[in-house]
Symmetry: C2
Subunit: 357 residues, 2 copies
């Protein structure tokens, strides 16, 4: 059975890093059919929309999406619905990609790249699970209007709606508890139940779902405290799971704590196992086209794709081992380079992973 993969390189360094991941996938000689389409600013340029119908259709018809990155300063002045990042929001919504997995791992050889003291970060391995299709990201109503109450009735105001329904919380809670069963059986659910109705409900529903997982330890933590504990003692976390908005902030904070965000993959899955796989970092327009971007996060995202959407765990293992091997051999792109290691470019790094496979 051939698996169909939509390859969406996007903007900035997207093209370069996705090319390396495709190269790595090709060398595995699996029955994969890959088709490329434009997305983000690149799609706006050719089709006048960041997520053209044809790209969306390709994504919908594929088993998985290998995504690069979108965004560039030059689109900042476009109206919001035409901006590159709308493509990623549109894909999440259209495909129902509610479960976002963002590992924050500190590789042994890259401990020095972290802002944190080595003893606090060495061996870090957190799995952040972020709900990705609900919350204030998609809640209606939203917009601008004249305020009828509040501090300044009569004034112009803008507003958004935060919301979570019971089944939305239940399904992501199951994902988190099941993921924890394959790890150290500890889940931290992050909320702001002391202030928000939405997150008091979140906490209540998570507590209920937890009854079905008596073997998993559940801890509730306020988001402000989580932002602190990540800095103070990140290794105390194992599976950290939360809503869309808080997950956006905490997953980036945790990624940066590792010091090597250029190494971190991500997966966004729907209920059918279809998934979008992309690096945790962005499109980095400042270094685009220079051949210096780190392709490893994208290559590791391809590994996650093989494991989660294509049922090819051995192939995923081969990629991950190869990445560890090139790190052990001392190869480093500029973002993770340090004294005594060998500086390489995007393509050389991809070639090295291919060679190690």
């Amino acid at each position: 059975m051939t698996h169909k993969i939509a390859v969406l390189p996007g903007d900035g360094i997207g093209t370069e890093i996705v090319a390396e991941a495709v190269k790595v996938l090709n060398v595995l000689e699996l029955p994969l059919e890959m088709e490329t389409a434009p997305v983000g600013g690149a799609a706006y340029e050719v089709a006048g929309h960041p997520l053209p119908e044809s790209t969306l259709k390709l994504a919908q018809d594929s088993d998985a999406i290998l995504f690069g990155a979108v965004g560039d300063w030059k689109y900042d002045t476009l109206e919001r619905r035409l901006r590159p990042e709308q493509a990623i929001l549109g894909l999440r919504k259209a495909l129902g990609l509610f479960a976002n997995f963002r590992p924050a791992i500190c590789y042994e050889q890259l401990v020095g790249a972290s802002s944190l003291k080595p003893e606090l970060i060495a061996g870090l391995d957190i799995l952040i699970i972020r709900e990705l299709t609900g919350d204030i990201y998609f809640g209606q109503p939203r917009g601008r209007r004249v305020a009828t109450d509040g501090h300044f009735p009569g004034a112009e105001e803008a507003f958004d709606t935060m919301r979570y329904s019971r089944p939305e919380i239940e399904r992501i809670a199951h994902v988190a508890f099941q993921a924890a069963r394959k790890r150290s059986k500890k889940v931290t659910s992050v909320d702001k139940a002391n202030v928000l109705e939405t997150f008091q409900f979140w906490k209540d529903v998570v507590t209920e779902v937890h009854q079905q997982y008596p073997d998993v330890e559940l801890e509730h933590m306020y988001v402000d405290n989580a932002a602190m504990q990540l800095v103070k003692a990140p290794k105390k976390f194992d599976v950290l799971f939360t809503g869309n908005m808080f997950g956006d902030i905490l997953s980036d904070e945790a990624a940066m704590l590792t010091g090597s965000i250029g190494m971190l993959p991500s997966a966004s899955l729907n209920a059918n196992g279809q998934g979008l796989y992309e690096p945790s970092h962005g499109s980095a327009p400042d270094i685009a086209g220079k051949g210096v971007a780190n392709p490893l996060a994208t290559i590791l995202s391809a590994a996650m794709m093989l494991r989660f959407s294509l049922n090819q765990p051995e192939a995923a293992d081969r990629i991950e081992s190869a990445v560890r091997a090139v790190l052990a051999a001392g190869l480093r792109t500029p973002d993770i380079w340090s004294e005594g290691t060998t500086r390489v470019g995007t393509r050389e790094m991809g070639d090295a992973v291919v060679a190690a496979i």
Copy 2:
């Protein structure tokens, strides 16, 4: 003219740390009239409500409020409106304390207490300005209902409303730009304009207000990126200002980066200069009553009170110099203790500040 100060010690370590700040204020021999009232869990115990009418009235009738901390696990099961933290939300709302100042400073002698490598944190001096009476904290409507649209129509859901009106954004923007003029004239406004209507509006209004401050440099940053940049290069920030929800998260993250949250004061002001002054840390029920809590954040909050609400800048300077002197003399409460320094308790630390004054 006598200044009236409401002293609200609250729960946990609140009583101990506030006692030291009062001692320090007393030694200054200023015309201050201090009156104490219960708040938080302590008020619930005696009056059945975390913010009794009498406490609120005292606060309203005072020039400033010296606040300890509220909260204890034992109140977790109370219905939300009776929980200790409702007192602080209630005070903010009733007094209109919209401008929250939270400095994140790394004291020279305490660099080692940070999770971050010394070179990244030494000399850190960020002023976080958080809007404190708007956003999703107070927006209506909020509650539980049956969903009529979204992913699961018909399901039970909870929701909250995020909102900001133009004058709310304008007044906090003025506060931020004016604060920046007294510092290095650089403001970072943190938003999530790429997703939220509220924060696109925030960004638009801040940009407009900025026209009146051509001498101040304004930078816009997404909240997820801000959470990362704080970890990566905190010293790049000077004045960071943002809404209530994002400010809650980022100010705690920044405070913890310094490694010495026990040292960080805060001020929450309204349009009349009335203010609530409290340490950035919480009630720490685990160490309450042991005489080991660090009173310096509360003592420094008292200094902020003298400067911002009571127009006594020299007295504020005297307190701040005294705190620097006791640190230089090597005195440390357990939270900031390190090899080679002298471990002291709450009371000894307060006495040392008094002596240094």
